[in-house]
Amino acid sequence: MKNFVDAYSWINITYLFKGLLITLEVSIISLLLSFIIGSFLGVIRYSRIKWVSGTVGFIIDIIRNLPLLLIIFFTYFALPKLQIHLSIMQAAISALTVFESAMIAEIVRSGINSVPIGQTEGARANGLTSIQTMWHIILPQAYKKMIPPLVSQFISLIKDTSLATIIVLPDLMYHAQIIYGQNNNYIIPMFLAISIMYFVVNYALSLIARWLDRRLV
């Protein structure tokens, strides 16, 4: 019991929250970037543009089948060999964005596929261009259907930021390690504390998603 009281000292808790802020910062930036890039790639893959869609699909398949850790190592250890120097934060965000964009592209593509073809035919027959049809009719309906898989993907992303601990990203997981590194007795209290933090953040995300799902037409 004493271990818990000592482990949760003010200084330790604020230190954990600083880590949580880094986790959130990296997650939110990667999430926004990969949502935009992934949507774009998903639409391109769906559109069956000669050569382009196939090439994009091939690259997406490669990335989806690599371990995220390898991509993190690549952006942090390999890019400097190619004269591209990124900070730890930039390396983590780039790796997560590349990986998540590929995952989201597939979610977007299958979301678009699930919108009945009649919606496209109705819009095209009505005189809309293919881009107008995609933007005004297909994507809004597809995103609504994509909310559940997108949210699970975002939750994975938040959890996966902890992998960047390996390249010493000072995130929630890393800060917990620093604390229990100084005192072994703090291991269980720290694991409990960060479990709660990850849970609260991710559960809040699913609640927002449920609310959004109800609100959208």
Binding site: G118, Q119, E121, G122, A123, R124, A125, N126, G127, L128, T129, Q132, H136, I137, P140, Q141, K144, V217
Partner: protein, 245 residues
């Protein structure tokens, strides 16, 4: 002047010969009904007129442009040729008014107040003035189809294509939709091509009836003549089947 003209048009789905040597001329302002057994190519034919299906041979001139030519800009044709589908295809994410106003806003750049005025007038015309803010899923099939017709009319097209507009409707809804279509047919400038199984509508409204089977046009005759005295044995057989049940 012909609004729609097929000259020796051919269409294949893989090995399947969907349309064989189609020759058909529809004058501006005419109402033409296309009938035939299912699988005869009626829907395929009507869908070639606005480029939803491509054609592989011959010429297909719609509003002075050849759809058989791959360089033809489909959107220029679709601006002038509306289509009403069997399953309505209303935009599920938009209200009724937004459904009607979207294409005029994006394609014709019609200004907002005029767009709304025209949309409201069309809704009143199809008897749904109070449904402007409903979403498609809140409407019955017959109401959806009338909104779809209003949506097509909002583009002020020269021609309207109807692909089995009443086939997915409950019997008691069919009359409302047919009445709206009869109204449109009275407009002497509007060219109408209608695929339907409603023989009453064909008899009453059509200037001409086209009978198709196995991807070919077998008979093309003025409506009264077709129903009183069909020439082709296949057409006679079809009529006796659909009329005497």
């Amino acid at each position: 002047m012909a609004m729609i003209e097929f000259k020796n048009v051919e269409k294949y789905y893989g090995d399947f010969h969907a349309l064989t040597n189609i020759n058909l001329k529809i004058e501006s302002g005419e109402t033409v009904v296309l009938i035939g057994p299912s699988g005869s190519g009626k829907s395929t034919l009507i869908r070639t007129v606005n480029g939803l299906e491509t054609v592989e041979g011959g010429e297909l001139i719609v509003n002075d442009q050849d759809l058989a030519n791959k360089k033809t800009d489909m959107n220029r044709i679709r601006k002038n040729v509306g289509m009403v589908f069997q399953h309505f295809n209303l935009y599920e994410n938009k209200t009724v008014l937004e459904n009607i106003m979207l294409a005029p806003r994006l394609v014709l750049k019609r200004n907002k107040s005029e767009n709304e005025k025209i949309a409201q007038a069309l809704l009143a015309k199809v008897g749904l003035a109070d449904k402007g803010n409903s979403y498609p899923k809140q409407l019955s099939g017959g109401q959806k189809q009338r909104v779809a017709i209003a949506r097509s009319l909002a583009m002020k097209p020269k021609a309207l294509l109807f692909d089995e507009p009443t086939s997915a409707l409950d019997p008691e809804m069919i009359g409302d939709v047919l009445n709206v279509m009869k109204d449109i047919a009275k407009d002497s400038d509007m060219t109408m091509l209608v695929v339907t199984h409603e023989m009453g509508f064909a008899k009453q409204v059509a200037d001409r009836v086209i009978f198709m089977d196995s991807g070919k046009i077998l008979e093309d005759a003025p409506s009264a003549q077709f129903f009183d005295n069909p020439k082709e044995p296949r057409a006679k057989q079809f009529l006796s089947q659909v009329l005497n049940h």
